[in-house]
Amino acid sequence: MSSAEGSARYEADPVINILSFTLLAVASATALRGAYMPLIVIAAFVLFVTSARGISAASVLKKSLVVIPFALMAFAFAPFMEDPHGVYYAIGPARVSIEGAGFLLNASARSWTAALCLVSLTESTPFNRILEGLGRLRLPPSFVTTTAFAHRYAFTLSNDARRMKTAMESRMYGERWLWRAGAAGVVIGTLFLRSLDRAERVHQAAVSRGFDGSFHGPAQEKLRLPDIMFLVVSLTLAVMLRLVA
């Protein structure tokens, strides 16, 4: 559940949120090397916006850090590659390339800033509003509806899986891992069959309420001044990031 779900705080237009945060995320991820200051400005701006909307900046920061291990893993070898300028530091028996270390730092900073933007999007916009925004951005209604169904039933399915796991474990007495793996396979198979069964019933429920295969688009909303300002500032920052090295 996002922080925004079910709250009464200011809820920005989802289209503006999607456009602005995605724009900032893409600009951050593709920032020029050495553009640390613009990245810091973007991060500060995003944290300011989320705080102004009543969302804990600490929570957003904490969640955005999830990307750091992945960035480090992806670029871990960069400091140990050949340096085109031949500048190295010796750390014990290893030679660390200055260029490579800079690349690692830059890639991590870009990844983290992009993650911060996307976490801010999901924290400040309930999932149903994101879907609504995607609908208003003219994504195919079938895609938006299918995503909504998948999101809705992912929770129900995971609950089913948890109950089945509990039921399975309550009848286990320290069996070997191979036996456990077999039992888990049965659980997954059963879950799949249950999902099919549920899909059938959901379809029946939709059909009985007049669903004929056509999807209804979301309502159009009037843009408000804070939303327009948010988009303009985001756009300016994104352009600035591309220009400043």
Binding site: M1, N128, R152, T156, R201, R209
Partner: protein
């Protein structure tokens, strides 16, 4: 009083060959409240699904004189609202409000009208504060009431409810019965809850192995312990 539902010789077999309904016939008058009771697998849920054409077997079903067949399906579904036993099957939209709007939108209402209708219906079932929530985050009792709101918002003339009190705590059950008691139109309830039948229904029909085997007032049918035992109800 006009006939709301007229069913003649309904037969339905599932693809695996299980005969769920075997020649069920009955008439329900407008405004009548009828309970279908029967052991598990007696065909109650299947019967409800045949009433608005979700399942189509042999025999004929008419809703306020309109035959349940492909060319009349829109009119039929406007008249018959079905509430499924498991609210997780009924509530498939991202928010409760979206779910309650789903039927009215399919009936051709504009988005604004559908939203106004949905908000009013949620208020009628005492859940005006849950519209923006995901159904997943509601309690079972709240889900049941939202599920009922999804068809109440369609102003159906016939409401078919499958086990409306199953899984509810005593308070939730009481609220559900009170809510159903205030509904207008014809009410068809498939249930095992005899207390609900006694409190709410004018008539009870016993289904057994896909056939209707008894039909009468709750006071007569539910006091016949031999009949109930014979059909796995006691």
């Amino acid at each position: 009083m006009t006939t709301a539902v007229s069913a003649e010789g309904i037969k339905y077999a599932y693809p695996d060959g299980t005969l769920a309904l075997d020649g069920v016939s009955f008439d329900i008058r407008e405004g009548e409240r009828v309970a279908f009771v029967g052991a598990n697998g007696a065909g109650k849920s299947t019967l409800l699904l045949t009433l608005n054409g979700v399942l189509k077997g042999e025999g004929t079903v008419r809703i306020h004189g309109v035959a349940v067949e492909a060319r009349n399906m829109k009119a039929v579904r406007r008249m018959v609202g079905i509430v499924f036993q498991n609210p997780d099957d009924q509530l498939f939209c991202p928010t409760a409000l979206d779910d309650v709007m789903f039927g009215p939108l399919n009936m051709g209402l504009s988005r604004n009208d559908a939203m106004a209708k949905a908000e009013k219906t949620l208020a009628d079932v005492g859940l005006s504060d849950v519209g923006g929530k995901s159904p997943f985050h509601l309690s079972h009792g709240q889900k049941k009431r939202v599920a009922m709101a999804t068809v109440l918002s369609m102003d159906c003339r016939v409401l078919a409810l499958d086990e409306p009190t199953s899984g509810l705590d005593p308070k939730g059950r009481k609220e559900a019965i009170k809510l159903m008691g205030g509904l207008s139109g014809s009410l068809i309830v498939a249930t095992h809850d005899f207390g609900l039948v006694r409190e709410l229904c004018d008539r009870v029909i016993i289904l057994s192995k896909g056939k209707n085997v008894a039909d009468g007032t709750p006071s007569v049918i539910l006091s016949d312990s031999v009949l109930l035992a014979e059909h796995g109800l006691e």
